[in-house]
Every structure is written in structure tokens, then in C-alpha cells.
């Protein structure tokens, strides 16, 4: 229970479904702030108190469990390392994979619980043989199946998402108000929870340090300078402060980040188009396809809120290769691609190889 409205209502529904429910708030930082600020929806003492108030209203026990060490090692340090290596990680996904449905789940199972229920918007559906599948939530706008795409069959076996069938977040808020939960109107959170003021760039500069480097075009000509390549993400347009305009007068986008050379490559939007993505770090969310080595139709989604794109996937040796029907924009190495079949999450992989849709020099 983060202290937000979703986990509070999820807990309420779990109680109502007849489960023996205990509220657990994860302490993810040893020096939590006192009061909630901006759009951060967790991790302050105020949030912990909100979670406890919700548990009180529901009449369930409530505890704070300290996962700050694991969170630092597996999520925060990983985030820094990935950015330093020029990749774009998704820390929420990492938290689901390593903390909520690993460290927390393992501890819960050891303490005699059967499952971890969260306020995520996603569905678990059992097939005719009782195998669990992960599906998109009914509330399309809030669907969080993407960030849960890392869960494996073993993890899904102990996951429970009571909000999966709810058509909209507004209904969850209404329900919270009806149940007398004080967090009914608490603002949504958007920012990364461990970056206090939402200033990812500044936070990274503090952790990684700054070092002046070149911004170059695709031909290698220097077109500007920057104070640290880690602050840039593929597809980014703003914040480059390029003095000279591009020859064609069109806006330039980050095409590539080269941390070793501390160089950022920029170019026109068209050059962002990617015809193929691939990665060898993958997992299946439930039963794997019977024959992944034979190309199969699917949809691929490369960001939490990106549109899914029809694609063909094939397991080629130990590498999962996805060819989208039309080129993808703004694909950054380190991003996670989640593969869907209909509403079902089939699996995911970390993108570590891409093939541009545009020949170099164009």
C-alpha cells in the first residue's frame, strides 16, 4: 500500500472478496521526506500515514517493511548504471520485477501469505488448464500491463490485481470515497519516486557527474555541446540548445547516445525510425509460445504509454527479434519491449539491438 488511492481500493476489494489481508507499505528509502510534494505519490512519511489510515478504515493490520537496501541496489543503482551506459531504463518495471514481485513476494510467501495484491491496472486470466495469463486492464487509459510484462509464470501465480476489471480510474476514486478512504481525491503520481523534485536530469548529473562533450550530426560534424551524455534519451527533442539550425531548418532529435565517447548524435525525425528491434534478455509472462522459433503475429509496445504496433516476432537462437509492421520512433537501447497477442501479455525483452529504417546519410 503506497498511500495512493489504487492500492487502498485494491486492498478493500481483497478484503471484501474474503481474503485474509494485511497491508504492507514498502520503505524504499532510509531518509524519507516528511510531506508529499508535487506529483510524487509515494515514499514520504505522509504517504505512509495515508496507507495506514486506509488500512485502519478497512480494519486490516498494517506494517512497514524495509526494502531500502534491495531497492537501492536493484532499482536506483541499476537506473544510474543504465543511464551511464547510454540506455534508457524503466525503474517502475525493475521495481515490479525485483522488489514487489520478488523480494516482497518471497518474504510474504515465507511468512505464510499466498499472494501479493497490488493496485496495478492489469488482469490475470486463467486459461482452460488453469495456466495464468497477464492481460490488459479494462481501463484502457490506465492499463499498466506494460510495466508488469516482466512477471514470469511463477510470479503471476502469486499476483493479484483487484482493479483489473474496473473500467476507469474515476470509478476507483468514487469507490474510495464511498468506502470512506481519505485518499479518494489524492493526486496521481507521475514522477519517478526516488527523484524528489522530478528533475531526472539534475538528479543524474548529481549521481553521475557532468562532463562536457560534443553533440554531433550523423556525419560526425560537431553541432553543439552538452554537459553529460547521460542526460539525453533517444527521441528527445528539447534541451539541446543547439546554436546553429539544421541545414534543412527542421528540428533535430537525439538519435543515439554514446556514453564511452560522451557524444550525443542528433538528426532529423525520420532518422529515428527503427525497422527492427531485438534483445536476448527476455521472459515469458506465463506459458511460452509453443514454437517461438517460427515467426508469429503479435503487437509490440516499447513504452508504458506508447501505442501497440502490429509486428512479427521470432526467437532466433537466443535472441528475440521483432519486426514491426511500420517503423517505430524513438527506440532507445535499454527500453523494454512488451509483446502482446490481443490483450494478453506474452512476454518482454530488453532492447539491445535495433536496425534503422533509414539508410545512413539520408
Amino acid at each position: 500500500m503506497s498511500g495512493g488511492v489504487d492500492s487502498a481500493v485494491a486492498a478493500a476489494r481483497a478484503v471484501e472478496a474474503g481474503h485474509d489481508v494485511v497491508g504492507v507499505h514498502l520503505a524504499l528509502s532510509r531518509n524519507a521526506g516528511t510531506l508529499r510534494t508535487g506529483s510524487r505519490g509515494c515514499c514520504t512519511i505522509e504517504d505512509s500515514m495515508d496507507a495506514q489510515r486506509a488500512a485502519n478504515v478497512l480494519g486490516i493490520p498494517y506494517y512497514v517493511w524495509d526494502f531500502s537496501e534491495r531497492f537501492k541496489a536493484d532499482v536506483v543503482d541499476d537506473f544510474i548504471a543504465e543511464y551511464s551506459a547510454g540506455r534508457t531504463p524503466n525503474p517502475c518495471m525493475r521495481c515490479n520485477e525485483r522488489i514487489k514481485f520478488a523480494a516482497l513476494l518471497e518474504k510474504a510467501l515465507a511468512l505464510g501469505f499466498d499472494a501479493v495484491a497490488t493496485g496495478h491496472y492489469a488482469k490475470i486470466v486463467e486459461d482452460a488448464d488453469g495456466h495464468r495469463e497477464l492481460h490488459r486492464a479494462s481501463a484502457e487509459a490506465k492499463d499498466q500491463s506494460y510495466v508488469l510484462g516482466v512477471l514470469t509464470a511463477e510470479q503471476l501465480a502469486h499476483a493479484y490485481f483487484p482493479l483489473g476489471d474496473t473500467p476507469s480510474k474515476a470509478l476507483v476514486r468514487e469507490e474510495a470515497a464511498r468506502r470512506g478512504l481519505s485518499v479518494a481525491q489524492k493526486p496521481d503520481s507521475y514522477d519517478i519516486c526516488f527523484i524528489p523534485d522530478g528533475d531526472t536530469k539534475g538528479w543524474l548529473a548529481e549521481k553521475v557527474g557532468t562532463a562536457a562533450g560534443d553533440i554531433v550530426d550523423r556525419a560526425g560534424a560537431v553541432v553543439g555541446s552538452h554537459e553529460g551524455a547521460h542526460a539525453f534519451t533517444v527521441g528527445q527533442r528539447r534541451g539541446m540548445r543547439l546554436g546553429t539550425p539544421a541545414p534543412d531548418g527542421k528540428p533535430r532529435f537525439v538519435l543515439e547516445v554514446r556514453p564511452k565517447e560522451n557524444t550525443v548524435v542528433v538528426g532529423p525525425k525520420e532518422a529515428l525510425a527503427v525497422a527492427l528491434i531485438a534483445g536476448s534478455r527476455f521472459s515469458w509472462a506465463g506459458l511460452p509460445p509453443t514454437d517461438p522459433a517460427t515467426p508469429f503475429d503479435c503487437d509490440v509496445q516499447i513504452r508504458a504509454h506508447a501505442d501497440p504496433v502490429p509486428a512479427v516476432t521470432v526467437l532466433d537462437g537466443d535472441e528475440l527479434v521483432v519486426t514491426p509492421e511500420h517503423p517505430l520512433d524513438g527506440v532507445a537501447p535499454g527500453q523494454t519491449a512488451v509483446i502482446y497477442v490481443g490483450t494478453r501479455v506474452l512476454g518482454q525483452f530488453t532492447i539491445d539491438r535495433t536496425v534503422s529504417a533509414v539508410p545512413a546519410g539520408v
Binding site: S48, M49, Q52, E106, A110, L111, Q155
Partner: protein
């Protein structure tokens, strides 16, 4: 429910509840001049005298505060502001003090230029007197000394008399936080000053206590202040309580505090050995059930609070044990300071030379005036299963079978 967390707070004594409700019906501000005010004043001062009597002090020496933490703040900051000079900036205290003290002296260090001098403790948490004596020196650079009478986590009783004597000799004022000792050990403020030859303004001059640790209400504490102690007030206003702590006085809370103090003082000779016997049985039973358990604090029964048991369970998380015992109907504590329930590794255990990993498996079980043999039995019955399960859960914070 089996309640074994008396160091956090104690159930209110029936006498204290009765005194509170009766006094709530009394009309009158004790500072008013009319008869109603005088009635309230009488009840207040009778209560103050009764509280004072249980601490070996006079009524006029007892300043009633909002809680124990306020009493500690008043003593430390109040004495500091009276005593500090550019040449006298050091505050001496043993390592492993309560947060009421730690955070107060740290604030003084950050904002007022105080210099904190933490004196080492031994492996049971007792201050090293030789180290203390050398840190004190001739006392000329020390503004004050502050220490716990007994540690609130591990129950180790400090050599209060020796420290009081050293500070008396050095002419330095000493504040003793007796909050965890009150109701468990005899406390005689005047007696201690006498046997340690305390001169005016030095040696033991201030002592903190709190009502809710002895079966009284939360929301009232006391600072015993010797007549010769110079203390700067933290709260200014109408000049109540020797002008040290202004504000309308809470007669009902004082009456309730006094009722609890009377009862506890009258029973102490019987109750302390009774609690100690429960404690020793609990310690022996727990070590029998879980041989790997490690008792923290003084293994000598005479050196620890009658109500304190503190174990480290290697390989377990204290919060897992707490949860499992709670689910089994037994309320205990991990013992360390919490911020909205977030456990920190205990600075007390770290000061005693224990590792952070060791400190994670800490569990504090504290016995009080309502504790019975049945409570100890219930704890010992619940412990083996809880321990076995917590040990299985213990590794989850490090690595899990879901890792890949």
C-alpha cells in the same frame, strides 16, 4: 492480546483513570485567584508533591511538561543556554542515548555551536567510566552532561551514582533521563545529590520522567530541577512553574500522573522482583527454544531493568518476527527508533559494537506492571514457530528465488 511492549507505553492503572476522570470535572485555572482557582491549585500542587515524593524531590522542584521528550529538551537546551560560553561548548553523553537526547544535542550542535562528545559504551551498553572521566577532565570546557539512567532498548542500567559524583566534583551539571527507569528502579534525587556531594548547580541537577511509562496518562512528563539549577525556558508566557514552563497547567493529567506514581512507588519493592522473575524466566525460555538467540544488554540480572528483555535473532528480520508474533496475538517491539514505522538499524546496538546485520534481527520484549506468568507462557509458546518462519523469510531482503 498479550502485551509485552511496556517500554513503549503501559496500560493505565485503574487508579490513574479514576483520578483523571474525577479531576476533569474540577473547574478552575490553578493560576486564578478565586476559590475555584484555589481548588484546582490545591489538587495540582498535591499531585505535584506526590509525584515529587516518588522521585525523592520536593514539589517545587517538579516542572510538569507535555511529555518526557519535552522534559529532556528543557533540561538539555535550558542548561546549555545558561551555561554555554565560547570556552564551554562541549556536551558529554554516552553513545546510544535516546533520540530525545540525540536529536536535541545534534540540533544544538548544528544551530548553536555545541560540540558533542560521545563517550564509548562497552559491549553491554554501559558507559566506560574511565573514558567518561578522561572526557570530563576538569570540566571547564563542558557545558553539561546528559545520560540515560537505563537504556530504553537494551535495559542496561548506567552507573548513575559514579557519573553524578564525577560531575559534582568537576562542577558540571548533569541531566539524567530516567524515563525508562522510572517505576522499575528506586529513584532518589535528593539522596543522590547528597551521597555525591553535589554543590549548587552541579552534579545531578535535572532528571526527566514520564507518566505513561508507569501506568499514567500519555501527554504529561516531569522534569525534576534542583533549586540551584539554572535553566533557560523553552516556552515563554504567563510565568507558571518557576517561569521555566509557562502555560495553563493540566490539573487532571497531573492528578492522574500522581495517582499512578503513588501506586507504582508503593508496589515497587514487590513489583520489581516480580517483573525480574518474569524477565528471567522469559530469557531462559527463549534461549531454550532458540539457542542461536543472543541476549543484548547486561546478562547480569542486577545490571538490567527488571522489565527488559532484548534479543537478536541471527538470520531473522526483527519486523518479520514482530509481524508473526503480532499475528499470534503477542505485541512486542523491534526496539529501535521508528519513523512512521520505518525501522532504522539501532544506533544503540551499533554503539555496543554490533553489526548492522545483527541489529536487523533485534526484538525487544518488555514487561510491566500488568504482566503475568501467562504472558510469558504465551510468548514462549508463540516464539518457536514465529522464529522458524522468520528465519525462512530472513533471506528475502537479500536474494530471492524469483531473481533471474
Amino acid at each position: 492480546m498479550v502485551y509485552l511492549d511496556h517500554a513503549a507505553t503501559t496500560p493505565m492503572l485503574p487508579e490513574a483513570v479514576e483520578a483523571l476522570t474525577a479531576a476533569l470535572a474540577v473547574v478552575g485555572n490553578p493560576s486564578s485567584i478565586h476559590s475555584a482557582g484555589q481548588q484546582a491549585k490545591r489538587l495540582l500542587e498535591e499531585s505535584r508533591e506526590q509525584i515529587a515524593a516518588t522521585l525523592g524531590a520536593d514539589g517545587i522542584e517538579v516542572i510538569l511538561t507535555g511529555n518526557g521528550t519535552e522534559a529532556v529538551n528543557l533540561a538539555i537546551k535550558g542548561i546549555w543556554w545558561q551555561r554555554q560560553t565560547p570556552a564551554r561548548r562541549r556536551i558529554l553523553m554516552p553513545a546510544g542515548e535516546h533520540h530525545a537526547t540525540l536529536d536535541t544535542v545534534e540540533w544544538l550542535a548544528q544551530h548553536e555551536g555545541a560540540v558533542i562528545d560521545e563517550v564509548a559504551v562497552d559491549e553491554v551498553g554501559r558507559v566506560r567510566l574511565d573514558a567518561f572521566e578522561s572526557a570530563l577532565g576538569d570540566g571547564s570546557s563542558v557545558s553539561l552532561v546528559t545520560m540515560l539512567w537505563a537504556n530504553n532498548e537494551v535495559g542496561t542500567i548506567q552507573p548513575v551514582e559514579q557519573v553524578a559524583r564525577l560531575t559534582a566534583r568537576a562542577g558540571v551539571p548533569l541531566h539524567v533521563d530516567a524515563i525508562s527507569a522510572y517505576g522499575q528502579l528506586p529513584i532518589d534525587f535528593h539522596g543522590l545529590r547528597r551521597v555525591t556531594d553535589a554543590p549548587g548547580g552541579a552534579g545531578l541537577v535535572a532528571l526527566s520522567a514520564s507518566a505513561h511509562k508507569i501506568g499514567g496518562p500519555a501527554g504529561i512528563g516531569a522534569l525534576v530541577l534542583d533549586r540551584t539549577a539554572a535553566v533557560e525556558p523553552l516556552i515563554h508566557g504567563g510565568g507558571q512553574q518557576r517561569k521555566v514552563r509557562s502555560g495553563t497547567q493540566d490539573v487532571a493529567a497531573a492528578a492522574s500522573f500522581a495517582a499512578a506514581a503513588r501506586v507504582v512507588a508503593a508496589r515497587l519493592d514487590d513489583d520489581a522482583p516480580r517483573m525480574a522473575a518474569l524477565r528471567d524466566r522469559l530469557i531462559a525460555g527463549a534461549l531454550d527454544a532458540v539457542p542461536s538467540a543472543r541476549l543484548s544488554g547486561d546478562p547480569d540480572p542486577a545490571g538490567r531493568l527488571p522489565g527488559n528483555v532484548h534479543f537478536s535473532f541471527p538470520g531473522c528480520e526483527g519486523d518479520s518476527l514482530l509481524f508473526l508474533l503480532d499475528a499470534a496475538g503477542v505485541a512486542v517491539s523491534t526496539g529501535s527508533a521508528c519513523q512512521a514505522g520505518v525501522p532504522e538499524p539501532s544506533h544503540v546496538l551499533v554503539a555496543m559494537g554490533r553489526t548492522e546485520a545483527d541489529a536487523r534481527g533485534a526484538l525487544r520484549i518488555t514487561i510491566g506492571h500488568t504482566s503475568t506468568d501467562a504472558d510469558v507462557d504465551a510468548f514462549l509458546a508463540a516464539l518457536p514457530a514465529a522464529h522458524a518462519q522468520a528465519a525462512r523469510a530472513g533471506l528475502a531482503a537479500r536474494a530471492t528465488s524469483f531473481d533471474r
